[in-house]
Symmetry: C2
Subunit: 468 residues, 2 copies
């Protein structure tokens, strides 16, 4: 039925191609593709692309320029494996599919399983979505439209509608006979059977490993897992991921509001959710949005502008604080030289506390019961490192400007600012999370405001009192 | 054989307990546990803990204070499910296990599968590790010692030694008969069979879904997957994760240097790697290390000190740049008021570019072929937003200090700094990655140096030329 293509990495560890399999698409492959495209060598092009896995083809389309991508899709789009589009960053997928004729996209969509088809269609513009749905076969259209009825990022959208369910009164023998007879209609891959009662409620789940080792006479009811976790179709996908991780699940049944089995979520769907959420959190902390990498420069600038604008307001606020002390600075210019040190150390120490807190909130390692303990710990860390850096900066500043009082002032300001950084670095994300605002997005602006204002105020204020 | 405990979330969606299952351990549960512990109510304590899943127990131990944790482990440690310790943050696990007697830890280790046992023992201090290994049964000891021979973070450490392999000349019927007969010795859960030749080389892989639907007369050789990906035991776990993601694998055979099958890696092991790597990258970008959350304040301060110290050097460098212009600042104090704006906007814009680049390098979306295109795009984004913010800040500064020249100077400095921020925000991580340094850790220090130095130099330098 199939050929074996065992890529035995261990045996040819010295062969550079062996590394290729882990590393994926090489730059040489890409360069060669571009050459073939440029020379209009379509047979060469076909040969290369047929050798790539869908993921590698997606990587190829991501790494070449926009014009080359359009040319490649125009020439070769019809022959691409539909999975290629699933493997792309959503923003890139959007760019590719929006440019292809809806008939072509409809063919791609029909080739996919229901959850994947939905994933593919979702990032597209709504009118293009409607175009494509219109062109689908009735069965596919209904599946997609039902999927679109579930809330965004819900279990209903994540689930696959293809699953295998059997009645609870069957035996292992009858089950295997059924699977053999129904082989054609079963999903390509499945790892669990769901046991249902006459009302199609899930009463059990059986990993296939239990079926293949059981005697034919054994009852299905006796083999089912002790505990199953049914997931309502409306559950948020982040909660689904948390449940999978907490309970070490490999698959779980999804039920409608009447408790009837309507789909299954498997761990590979959850891997995508976990990766995506972590990816998003990472980007948000840096003030960018998902898909940024695949937007054109002008569009990227627009998205990033808002974040920078908010930061500008913060920076202006800090300037206003400095302007209160213009007279003092005019007398002692050394203050202008040293003041960024206090603000920047506060910002960095605060970011450390904030990063830990934002991550711990995302993984639910912080809740009401230990929130105060975490804030207190960070305040202590701020005090300890504040004292250490007060000493270092105090000595450096005192020697540099031959002014022990200046050293004292910067030292005290450093302690004050690092304590505030620790306290606010944890309190801000915790309060934002409580208020229902994503702490990964908004925390750092508030924190910078605190560490800048406190830093400049403490340093320049103390100088105004003790030195001017 | 087992009871069914179907937690039917859909049916009782209004019941607050329904949410509990997705949300996990509630703060009320924790408070109740602490009360029982305080009142020495051991029966109450036992009742609560027996109702928690291992993951929830781990969460409980993470969220209570150190003293309470010690008390709980002392009273109740012997009865805890070994899986509880697997679910913990490694730093917390270390703290828990280091305090328990080695005999107790040895019992926990013997209860686990080989890959989990290794995970558990690895974060412990080496002398405690040796203590524990000494106390293990011979078979477990050998498995652990063999695992320790593989490099850290390698496939050999990640893999499970329990798997099911069958000869290639068997039929489906013979395979099922074998699985039924050998049921006792098989791993608890398995989803694939590995087909091996007489030298124990892997020649194929069969998902169980293919076995249960096939007729007894079918040949194993005909059912095996077209393509299998064998993983050398020495492959780095990040490469393993990339391979799983790229090829959408659910499991893969691990082979020794002679190509013989020695273990299997399943997708749930890979989920842990993916989560851990994303977690680590996130924390590193903020200048903290994994486990930070579970270290005491003093130890945390020590870890974070290094990062802050490097940042202090950067800040001092920026101060040196400012000190070149002391005379100019003395004449025009407005410069001291406005200069943090230019540096801070450069820092934020650079961080945006850097965040995207660091993430794209981690997911291999940037390589030689598109690196220059990415740098060029970011430079353009810097120029566009630089122009926008030059206008805004120029007008604000000009009006604030009634000095159009000051507005012009800050505007030009803003453009220069934001262009540098875009260019260096991408070039720095790309070069660090090329040099083999983790860009998530080191990039931001270098970037801040650039944006501070360029920002202060451009603003104060232009002012010195055109205004003083």
């Amino acid at each position: 039925m199939q050929e074996h293509k065992a890529s035995n990495l261990a045996e040819d560890a010295e062969d550079p191609f062996a590394i290729d399999i882990a590393e994926g698409l090489s730059d040489a492959d890409i360069a060669y593709t571009l050459q073939a495209l440029d020379a209009e060598d379509f047979i060469g092009l076909k040969t290369i692309i047929e050798e790539l896995s869908p993921n590698e083809t997606a990587e190829l389309l991501a790494k070449i320029g926009g014009d080359e991508r359009r040319a490649l899709l125009e020439r070769y789009g019809a022959q691409l494996d539909p999975v290629v589009f699933l493997e792309m960053d959503p923003e890139l997928r959007r760019a590719c599919l929006n440019e292809m004729p809806p008939e072509r996209v409809a063919i791609i969509v029909s080739d996919l399983e229901s959850d994947d088809a939905l994933d593919l269609i979702l990032p597209l513009d709504e009118d293009i979505q409607r175009e494509i749905i219109k062109k689908l076969a009735r069965k596919d259209r209904i599946a997609i439209e039902e999927g679109l009825n579930f809330p965004e990022d819900s279990a209903g959208r994540l689930m696959q509608r293809e699953f295998v369910s059997i009645p609870q009164f069957w035996t292992v023998g009858k089950t295997i006979d059924y699977l053999r007879a129904a082989s054609e209609e079963l999903p390509d891959d499945f790892f669990d059977l769901f046991v249902v009662d006459s009302a199609h409620h899930v009463v059990g789940e059986i990993p296939l490993g239990r079926i293949v080792r059981a005697r034919r006479s054994e009852k299905i009811d006796d083999l089912a897992l002790e505990e199953i976790h049914t997931i309502p179709a409306t559950m948020d996908q982040e909660d689904v991921a948390t449940l999978f991780r907490r309970e070490d699940l490999t698959s779980a049944p999804v039920v409608d509001e009447d408790g009837r089995l309507i789909g299954v979520i498997t761990i590979d769907d959850v891997v995508d959710v976990i990766t995506e959420e972590a990816h998003e959190d990472f980007l948000r902390l840096g003030g960018v949005e998902q898909g940024d990498m695949y937007r054109a420069a002008l569009s990227t600038s627009g998205y990033r502008f808002r974040w920078l604008f908010v930061n500008l307001l913060t920076a202006i606020l800090a300037s206003v604080v400095i302007s209160f002390f213009e007279a003092t600075i005019e007398k002692i210019v050394a203050l202008a030289v040293l003041m960024p040190i206090v603000a920047s150390m506060g910002g960095n120490a605060g970011t450390q506390a904030l990063t830990v807190a934002v991550r711990a909130l995302a993984t639910r390692e912080i809740s009401g019961i230990n929130a105060l303990r975490v804030v207190w710990k960070e305040t202590m860390v701020g005090a300890i490192n504040g004292a250490a850096f007060a000493l270092i900066t105090g000595v450096v500043a005192g020697l540099w400007f031959s002014d022990p009082m200046l050293g004292g002032v910067i030292g005290v300001a450093m302690i004050v600012n690092l304590i505030c950084a620790g306290t606010f670095g944890t309190i801000i994300p915790i309060l934002l999370d409580k208020a229902g605002v994503d702490p990964a997005v908004a925390s750092s602006v508030f924190l910078t405001t605190v560490t800048d204002v406190v830093g400049f105020f403490a340093f320049l204020g103390l100088a105004a009192i003790f030195m001017a």
